[in-house]
Symmetry: C2
């Protein structure tokens, strides 16, 4: 297990209530850290072997703990899968929202969106891939929650395309449909990119930007 959360300020050791609060907080952080580490290792196995083919015994072994240890931090195997899928889509959604917060024309914003989301997807490939691959292994309830997040993503992306359409920057017949192609193109990166493969992460990100720009470009070119 590598570095713990930083920025824990020294507590006043003469002040009993403060000391207690500080101790409780630290404990909480350690618990959160353990959960993260379990999730991280589980995502490696789910990514490499698939959800069903992964045993929690093997995850525990990798962490040098035992299976009941995992069960004291997660209710069951399905909860692990849900958290991994949730991470995969939530990271992308957050990246999208942050990019949309940057002021600029629709064209500029779209470029930033694709760049940031593509980067996040590459950096968190394991989580995103498991999310795309293992939907069928989620409970119906969990699957619905994940689909809702995805829907939010597609909707916000569609709003940006709509904005560009109104300003005349983009040529998109149906923004909500084009949004699905764009988000599909981004998802595809997770399924296809291979670290140390033929193309670098930067090349893939730049390519994605180019592709998306062309997909929304007016027929006469960007400056028509």
């Amino acid at each position: 297990m590598h570095k713990l959360a930083e920025n824990v300020y020294a507590a006043d050791m003469t002040d009993k209530p403060k000391k207690k609060r500080a101790a409780a907080q630290l404990k909480g952080e350690i618990t959160a850290y353990k959960r993260r580490r379990i999730l991280e290792e589980a995502s490696h196995f789910f990514f490499a072997n698939g959800y069903e083919a992964t045993t929690l015994d093997s995850v525990a072994e990798q962490l040098n703990v035992t299976k009941p240890f995992i069960y004291s931090y997660y209710k069951n195997k399905g909860e692990l899968l849900y958290e991994i899928c949730q991470t995969g889509i939530q990271l992308s959604l957050t990246a999208l929202e942050e990019a949309l917060a940057v002021e600029g024309t629709a064209t500029e914003q779209l470029k930033i969106v694709v760049e940031r989301v593509a980067r996040i997807i590459i950096e968190n490939q394991r989580y995103v891939t498991v999310y795309l691959r293992e939907e069928k292994s989620l409970t119906p309830d969990d699957a619905r929650r994940i689909r809702d997040l995805r829907h939010t993503f597609d909707t916000k992306l569609a709003a940006l395309l709509e904005k560009g359409k109104r300003s005349g920057e983009f040529d998109v017949a149906a923004p909500s449909r084009t949004a699905i192609w764009v988000s599909g193109l981004l998802s595809w990166i997770a399924l296809w990119y291979h670290e140390g493969g033929r193309w670098s992460a930067t090349e893939v990100v730049m390519d994605a930007i180019t592709m998306v720009q062309k997909m929304v470009q007016p027929a006469g070119g960007p400056n028509a």
Copy 2:
């Protein structure tokens, strides 16, 4: 089990050797038919629940047979998965090759390619989706064979883009890289399309054509 193979011509019942050959042929057809039916039902389950979560007992029950019946037509569960994945990629590859055989400019050919492959992917969504999702469940040998087929697909597509680039019809910096985006866009259809959903198969196919055309279009527009 619905209709058997047709076009079985009547054998001359007075000619012993011919009769025997006809009988042997029919037997072979029936065996092939049974294999197809098993594969078809298995693909339903693999698509709906995933490979690992599917039991051969449930597939057998759906066919009103028993598990040993399946084992008399397939060596093991993995062989079923391989044949399903193989079908998924081979159908796409065949559609690509047939489309490439049609004479025309690169632009015309690309349109036909996207149209036909997209249609095939929608019609055989179960096979294609399982192929995209379950790569990790294949034996290393089977996985390599499948990857080789995919590679052939991408290579032939890249050759078409290269042709269009040379003729000045397409603006693609690196045909082999663009081919991967295009084939990714096509694959995405399988993961995303839902029969009876918001958009019809025809709309999706037409959209795919538009998107791909834009992806390869020169900056100044199609008639620059």
